[in-house]
Structure formats: C-alpha cells, structure tokens
C-alpha cells in the first residue's frame, strides 16, 4: 500500500502495550482450548445415547 516500514513502526509505537504476536498467540491458544472443550458436549451426547439404550434396549 505504498507505505514505508518506518512509518508503520511509528504508528505502532503510539499504541499502549501493543504486542501483535502476543495477541495472536492468545487467540490461537483460545481456539485450541475451544477444540478441546468439544469433548464435554460429545461426552454428554454419548451419555444421552447410553441412557436411551439402557431405557429402551
């Protein structure tokens, strides 16, 4: 977009606690935990199926 590197760095310097890489690491970590959390609903579905089979054979 035609901007030189120095100008971009100047803009970032004006921000408070700006750490793009740390923010991205946090976001990636959140997404991984979200995937792991899926075990809980999957287990709950398994439980429903077990209950259903126990009742209805």
């Amino acid at each position: 977009m035609g901007e030189d590197r120095q100008s971009r760095q100047d803009r970032r310097a004006g921000l408070t606690g700006y750490d793009d890489q740390a923010e991205i690491r946090n976001a990636v970590s959140y997404e991984r935990v979200l995937a792991a959390k899926a075990l809980i609903p999957l287990l709950m579905v398994g439980l429903v199926i077990v209950i259903f089979r126990a009742i209805h054979g």
Binding site: M1, R8, R11, R12, G14, L15, T16, Y18, D20, E23, I24, N26, A27, V28, Y30, E31, R32, L34, A35, K37, A38, I40, P41, L42, M44, V45, V48, I49, I51, F52, I55, H56
Partner: protein, 498 residues
C-alpha cells in the same frame, strides 16, 4: 416390504426432512472443533492501515456522541483513524452532537449531511463512500452502526488480516450488549453465540462467509474498488450482497472471533420482529439474486460449495422443512400409525442429540455470554419441545406422570388421550410458529399482555419465533410487499466496557 408401505416409507423420508437443519447444525459445530487448524494468523501482519470509519446515522443523537468518544479511545493510531458520520436528514440533535465532536476531535471526525434522507442504509452509506473514495487517504474502510461499541483492540485485530492482499474484508464478533437487558436480549445474546461465534467459525473453515455483520465490516480499499465502490441498494441485505460480491470477485472474507463488538439489540418481540423481518426479506432477495451461485463449486470462491449451500439453505428453508415434516407425520398417522410413531421418535431422538450437543457447546464457546444467558439457551427450543424430548427419552416415566396429573383432575389417560397427545406432538413444530406469532400479537408494554407474551414465547421457543418471522418474510416477498427501511430504535443501553 409389506403391501401399501411404499407410500409409508416415502412419507418417512419427508418426515426426516425435518432433521436436515438439525444435522446441518451439528455439522457446523463439528467444523468449529477444527477451526484452530484453519486460522489465518500466519499470513497476518501488524498492519495498521489508514482507516475511515463510516457511520450511517438517522436520529442517533442519544448514542452517536458516546460512540464517537469510544472510537477515539480505540487502541489504534489517532492519525490513522477518521470518522465519517453520514447524517441521513436527522430531525433530532444528531447534527449538533456530531459537529460538537468534530470540534472536539479536529480532523478526526467529519459530519456529512444528507438533506433528503429516508432512502435506506445503503443509500446513506453510498453518500459517505463517495466522499471517502474521492481522495486516496483511506486504505481500509470500517462500516459500523451508530450504537455499536468496539473493544479497544478490536479494530486492529481486524486490520491485521488485511496485510494479506487476498483478504477483501473482515468482520468481527457482534455480541448483545444491552445492560441490564431482559429475557429477549438474553435470547438474542445466546442466538449470537450460535449464529456468530459458532456459525462464522464454521464458515471460516469452509472458506465462505455468509454475511459481514452490518455493524462491523472492514473492507480493504482494493476490495471496495473491485466491487464497484458502492453498496448495493437493490435489496434489504446490503451487507450480505457486499459479502457475496467480495468473494465472487476472488477475495476472501474472514470472521475474526477475537474482535469483539457490542451492539444494542431489540428488547421486545415486536422490535425483534421488525428487525428480523427486514433481514429475512433481505435473505430471500439475496437467495434469488445469487441463484446461479448455489451448489456450483468454483475455483475462485467457496460460495458454490455443497457445504456452504447446505448451511445457507438449512436456515433459509427452516420453516419449509418443519411444515413438510409435520404434514408428512400427519399423513403417515393415517396411513400407518405405528410407522408414524417410529418416524416421529427417530426425528425427535435426532432433535435431543442435536439439542444436547449444540446447547452445551454453545455455552462453552463463549463462557461469558453463557453465564448471562444459559437459561435462554436451555429454553431456546421452548418448554413444549423440551417436554416432547423428555417424553421420547423417558416415555414410561413421562406417561406415568401424565396419568397421575390427569387422574388428579378427574380425567383418565385412555386410547383417545394417547392419540390426541401423539397428534399434538406431531403438529407441534409447525404449531409452535403460530404460538410464537400469537406471543407477538398479545405483547404489551405493561399489564397481563407483557407476561402472557413472554409465557407464550417460552412455550413456543425463540427458534420458533425466528421461523415464524422467516415464514412472514416469504409471504411478504411473494406478495411483493413494499420493502421499507425501518430502523431499529436504539437508546444507548450498551453497558459493557468499550
């Protein structure tokens, strides 16, 4: 196969059409699980482009000043941010408020006035776009609503994706922010976790996004130029049209779940109906407008993929699938009673599994929203549907309770009562839309109507209300009813840190 059962099995197939949206819902949530494998962050850069914020405003005096103040507090370089408020011939103090802010933030806030307004949001946006595109200062454009509140880091969380020139637009995670809110805003809060945090993650995985949220859409300048430098004025869903055109032009559209944006949402059934009817009619128009895109896979975009089409039509055709399923069940009841019960049970077992999976995962996807609206999440399908699910799961126990209840009021649970119960269960998915509509009709601000409508909505379920609105949208479009832009009233109830 027994004689005469061919018709029965065809009807069973129609009954199971009702499972299509349920299976698609589960499929979307399974895609959420693999979202972490398809993140775009590796191609991001710490990119802070010169961003013009475009805000259409008609009589937004109550909220626009606060919104501008909050935008100026964003963690974003002040010299890289300009706010353009397009005042659509407001008759309140919107111009005074914006002009005062322009004085307070010289060079950062601009007031653009339309003397003849009322042509809709897209026309208002185009007025601002013409000014913004006229010079080359702007590198990215953020379109937002006058009342929405961005968290401090949200804008730069979105702009970093534009470092990749293949990305044309980015949207954020809109959350319901009314405080203290009421039962309706909490239903919407839950719905937004499903429709945004979950569904849009799934769409990131597929590689096709259905809609850039109207309150949080960031476009690169190159993308705006590629889609004609204007917002579509021919439909009620200008944001969806921009989203589709961006992808058809060969650029990707991303959902950034960590760019949080808070919005004030309707607090009554009537207000929700007005807002969602506009959206649903817009979706009908978009479905027709892009009729040559569906289920036609292409190299340049993923809008034509089977996955994306299935997701789109599972929502768009939801009332139709419910009507077909219920009609088939009733027909089957008279053709083959025993088969009708088996089909009904199969459909509702899928319903139970979907319900357990979706509700529990939704509450985990956004625990903060989950803590606030878990009751509405649990009651999302409505009390009656929950009772039907319980009856399918615990048939003996539920019928024992029913027998005791009927005996207490001097009635017996005989064959005719059993048949009546079955028929009621068979038609409920359709009837619930009628009950949800009734909740809208009887709604009043005060008195018994207030509690009656709330009670009816809890019985029918919020999902049934959305289905009823979609059905109403079909009818309006079939009748070619006038498409008017009716703004949702906002009073500045957002009570979250911005």
């Amino acid at each position: 196969m027994r004689g005469g059962s061919v018709a029965g099995w065809i009807l069973v197939a129609f009954v199971l059409v009702g499972a299509f949206p349920l299976v698609t819902g589960c499929y979307q949530y399974l895609l959420v699980i693999v979202h972490f494998t398809r993140l775009h962050y590796r191609k991001c850069g710490p990119w802070l482009p010169r961003t013009a914020v475009l805000i259409p405003a008609w009589n937004e005096g109550a909220v626009i000043g606060t919104s501008i103040d909050r935008l100026m507090r964003l963690d974003y370089p002040r010299d890289a941010l300009r706010i353009y408020v397009v005042d659509d011939a407001s008759t309140d103090d919107t111009p005074d408020v914006v002009l005062a802010k322009a004085e307070q933030y010289p060079g950062s806030v601009h007031h653009l006035r339309r003397e003849h307004g009322g042509e809709g949001k897209a026309a208002t946006l185009n007025h601002g776009l013409a000014t913004i595109m006229a010079d080359d200062w702007m590198q990215a454009l953020l379109i937002m609503d006058a009342d929405v509140v961005y968290e401090r880091t949200s804008l730069r969380a979105m702009t970093r994706h534009l470092a990749d020139p293949r990305i044309g637009a980015v949207t954020g995670y809109i959350q319901e922010g009314s405080r203290p809110g009421n039962y309706m805003t909490r239903f919407i809060a839950y719905e937004y976790v499903t429709a945004q945090a979950a569904a849009r993650r799934a769409q990131n995985v597929i590689g096709a996004l259905a809609c850039l949220a109207g309150g949080a859409q960031l476009h690169s300048r190159a993308n705006l130029a590629a889609i004609g430098g204007r917002i579509d004025t021919g439909t009620l869903a200008e944001d969806t049209v921009s989203t589709f055109r961006t992808q058809l032009a060969g650029r990707r559209v991303l959902f950034e779940p960590h760019a949080k944006v808070w919005a004030e949402e309707p607090g009554s059934i009537a207000a929700l109906w007005k807002q969602r009817l506009r959206w649903a009619r817009g979706n009908v128009q978009v479905t027709w407008l892009f009729r040559k895109v569906w289920f036609r896979p292409a190299r340049a975009h993923r809008l034509g993929s089977i996955s994306f089409g299935a997701i789109w039509f599972s929502v768009f055709l939801l009332p139709v699938t419910l009507l077909v399923s219920c009609a088939a069940l009733i027909a089957l009841y008279f053709v083959d009673n025993s088969l009708s019960y088996s089909a009904f049970r199969a459909l509702w077992i899928i319903n139970v599994i979907t319900y357990v999976f979706l509700v529990s995962y939704t509450l985990l996807i956004d625990p903060q929203a989950g803590r606030r609206c878990w009751r509405q999440g649990v009651l999302f399908p409505g009390v009656v549907s929950l009772l039907i699910m319980a009856t399918v799961l615990f048939s003996v126990q539920m019928h024992w309770l029913l027998r005791i209840g009927l005996n207490d009021v001097g009635l017996t649970y005989g064959v005719s009562a059993r048949q009546a119960e079955l028929l009621f269960s068979y038609v409920w998915l359709t009837a619930s839309m009628g009950v949800a509509y009734l909740a809208k009709v009887v709604e009043r601000d005060t008195g018994p109507g207030r509690y009656l409508s709330r009670g009816l909505l809890y019985l029918a379920g919020y999902g049934s209300l959305l289905c009823a609105i979609t059905l109403a949208a079909y009818l309006k479009e079939l009748r070619h009813a006038e498409a008017t832009w009716e703004k949702t009233d906002k009073v500045g109830k957002i009570g979250v840190p911005g």
